[in-house]
Structure formats: structure tokens, C-alpha cells
Amino acid sequence: MTEPSLLSAAAQARPRASIRVDLKTIGEMVEPGSRVLDIGCGDGALLDWLSHEKNVDGRGIELSQAGVNACVAQGLSVIQGDADTDLKDYPTGAFDYAILSQTLQATWDPKTVLGHLVRIGKRAVVSFPNFGVWHVRLKLLVGGKMPVTDSLDQSWYETPNVHLCTIDDFVELCRVLDIEIEYAQVLDAAGRPKGLRAPGFFANLLGEQGLFVLKRAR
């Protein structure tokens, strides 16, 4: 292992065990020693966890400059960029995994972004809030208002989520794009696996989030 003295103060300050459960669930999908591009990497928590727990060669793209600065200051390879505009530059198959966590619904063109994910990564790991979960359906049906939940915690007029979808909608888009679903399951609001495989009627009804491992169909 590396010597503690070589790690930056910022990296030392955050105990790795404290990684958010939804990020850890995603991290568990990644094979050790692989090359990973984390799109929308935030403060770099997942990249940092992957590099130290799974010896991953990780890169990140983050929209907020403050997030980028925090990542680079702890020794992570991160650039300021945007999933909608900056994925086209990367060569095909450059990474083993392209990860997009809780971001697809906030992109302007999810179809193109998804296409780039499975092009750049030999596999893509995608998670998103499921708009088909029963209590969201109920809020809209009974309350007649746009649902605000733990996973979708902002009102319609301030949410960055411009392209919300259900798990079944997502599966449909994968079929249109000829993308193979290698693995899929549903998560609870905190991002813990619910032990329910997707797709399926109950997955779409009970899952707060969907987590998919995808690859291009040969």
C-alpha cells in the first residue's frame, strides 16, 4: 500500500468507509484494475474509492468548477466538462467502464449521451431515479401535482431533471439504441439494492432508482 505521508491532506481527511451507499453500490459493479470514466463525478468520492479500493485507473468529468478543483487538489484526474457536449471527443473503447450516476435525467439529449457511454466504455454503468415508482404515480394521480420525493427533491420549476423516465422507458431506449442490458436491479431511495431484478412490472413499480450495466450489442 501507499505511504500515508504521500496522500494529500484532503484525501486523508475523508475516511473511505464513509462513501455514500449509492456510490458504493455502483463501485461494486466495477472490476478491479480497470479503466473508468466517471461522468458527473462531483467531489470525486467514487473515483477516490475506486482508485484506493479497486486499484482503478480513474478519470472524471464534472460540470461544477468547485467540484473539479476539489478533485484535482486531492490528486484525482478530473476535467471541467459537460456530458452533453464533451463525450464526443473520447475515442471508442477508451475505458472499461463509463459511469453516469444520477445524471442522465439532467442531460439535454439522453439518447445521444447513452450512445456515447456504450461507445466510450466497453461497459456503461447508469443509475437514475425511477419516475414509475408507485408513490410517484400515486402523487400525480391523487394529488394532481408534480411529485417531490427523496430521489426527486426539487419542485418542477427548479429541478435540473429535464428528462425524467421510468425503468420501462429506459429499457425501451436501450432497445432502440441496440444496447444490451447485462445486469439490472432496483435500488431504494438511499441507493441500497432492494434485491429485485429489473426489468419487470414490479421493478418499475417498487424501485426508487434503476441501476443498469450496459454494453453495445455485437
Partner: protein
Amino acid sequence: MSATPRIAAVDMTAPDSPGQRFEIPADRPLKLDSGVEFGPVTVAYRTYGAPNADKSNAILVCHALTGDQFVADTHPVTGKPGWWEAIVGPGKILDTDRYWIICANVLGGCMGSTGPKSIDPATGQPYGLKFPVITIGDMVQAQARLLDHLGVGQLFCVIGGSMGGMQVLDWVSTYPERVFAAIPIATSYRHSAQNIAFHEVGRQAIMADPDWRGGDYLSAGTLPHRGLAVARMAAHVTYLSEQALHRKFGRRLQNRESLSYGFDADFQVESYLRHQGSTFVDRFDANSYLYITRAMDYFDLQAEHGGSLPAAFEGTKTRFCVVSFTSDWLFPTSESRTLVHALNAVAANVSFVEIVSDKGHDAFLLDEPDLHNTLQGFLNGCAERRGLRGK
């Protein structure tokens, strides 16, 4: 080393002047981009800290247009502190207790490396305009010869701002296996039309000075100090920003209560620029200014690689940290972003940080905490992967 703060008291071409020297012999000359074989060449340099056992801790600092090798000690001509003492020194970001820091005066410079004011062995007179036109690539070639001489195979890091950043990019492109990590700051992969235009203004100011004497002013015993000062004044404005100038000077008057209705330096900003110009001529050679600005103008990594910037970095294993500043209008963030996109296209390992600062292009030389945190984090991460031990 000791240095006396007496202007022009030190002849940097003298063999016993401060710093170290390395000779590229005439029988193994530099092969310049212009096709000229050029030698002998002196490379004047400074080192700080010490090499480790396998010399894997070497960091090459590349200086900007008017910089020199005195990165972190008192300047022998001006008596001022080293130009990057903010980050180079014991316990600092470029920690001289941990790294072996090397900086060479560029080819064409005037602080001891061979340049237009050096004596041409063929004539016994200063080269003047007989000095060959040089490029950023030629400067890098001279540095590579110095590193061969010092026994450095792979540099741990090459770092530089502005023209120094151009050298960083040329290093990675020309000697990819010799650079573990690269930090190009406030720079570009090519000099823009606007930047060439500003350089041309400066060169024309020098050449319009009657004391320039067609470049032979040293033999004539004159100095084109007025032309060089004007060139520096114009260039200095491009290193700052509108906000920085306004914050520093506003429209405040210099040592007077009211306007003079004449052409004295009524405004503080005028007085400041005149001071910048007049102190510059004490330490810089006018012909060096012509040659080095030309080298920057000629720099275009994209054109050198058949119009494809990614081709300049194909297969690179170097770890990059690209840095720009929000108020830098000489080398704006958009140029760095184009560079980053080209590096993405070859799946290079790249970090890119745009620092919020209102200090303009010169921000890289100043005390910018975000810059320092970025450099510290990037270097620590690289040192960990390179297996360099801490103190």
C-alpha cells in the same frame, strides 16, 4: 550564492557569473527547425535541491518570455527575489527538500545562454541579427541536451506558464517517454493571431528606435532602450486585466492634485507602465526580445502534426494538469479547453482546472491559493504513482 542588487553590474556572459553552465560543442551542434546546425551553444541554468539515487525526482521548470533561470534565488542583475519563489523552495509546492528542480535560460535568451548578444566565434562580434531564428522546439532541444548531460532520463515533471507552457507541450510531444507528468499553465498549443499582433507591435517599437542600429547596437555602443521600454509597456498591459488595472490604479493621479494639461504621467497607471518599461531595459536585451517573441509566434503544435492536435499526443502516457485563469485574455480558457479535448481524443490522463482570478495572465506568478492547491494535489498524486517518497 551571493548577489549584489546593482543594476547591470553582472555580466551574465562571463564564465564566472552566477549559476551553472553547460556547453553544447560545435562538433555536436543543435539541429534547429530552420535547418541551421548551430554550435557551440552555452546553456546557463540553475538547480535547487538534490537528485535522488536514480534521478527520478527531477522537475524541469520552463520560464516565460522575459523570465530566466533564477527561479528561487535573488536575481543577480535586479537583486529581486526569484520569479517563482511563491511555489519553489524548501517545504513549498515544488519542494526542494523532495524534488530536484532544474531551470535553464532559453536558447536566444540574455541571462547566460547563447543568444543574439553572445559573441559569434566566427567574427568576434556579438551575433546581433546574424543569430539564427529559433523556435520553441529548438529551446526544448537545448534543454534535452542539458538533461542528457545531467544524467536525467525521465523527468518527473515539466512545468511552466505562458511561453514556459508552450515548452511543456513541446516536451511531451517531442520526448513523450521522458516526461512522467506535465503542467502547462496559462498557455496554448499555438500562438493566436491577436498574440502575434501584440508581439509585432513590440518588435516594431524596438526596430523603430534609431539606437537599435539595424540590430548592431552593441558594436555601435548604443542601446535601444526607448523602443524596448515601449515594447514592454504594451506587452505588460496584455499580462493584466481590465479589473486588475482598475483595482490597482483606477483613474487616480500620480503625485498631483489635478490634471497637468500636458503629456506628463498624470495618471498612476501611466507612471506604473513607464516604470515597468524603464526597469525592464536594465535586465533584458532588445534583440533577445525580437528572437524569443518570434519563437512564440511560430509555435503551432497543430500545424506541426498535419493539422491534427491529438496527433501531437498520440499514445502519450504522461499525466497532464492543464491550468487556465478566468481573466487571462492573452491565453484564454478556450485555448486550454481545445487542448484538453485533444488530450481526451487520445484518452490521455488529464486534469483541467480553470482558476477564478481577476489578475489576468500574470496570475500564474502570483499568490493564488486555488492554483497552489491544484498543483499540490496533482504533484502529490503523481509522486505517489511514480513511487517518490515523501520527506
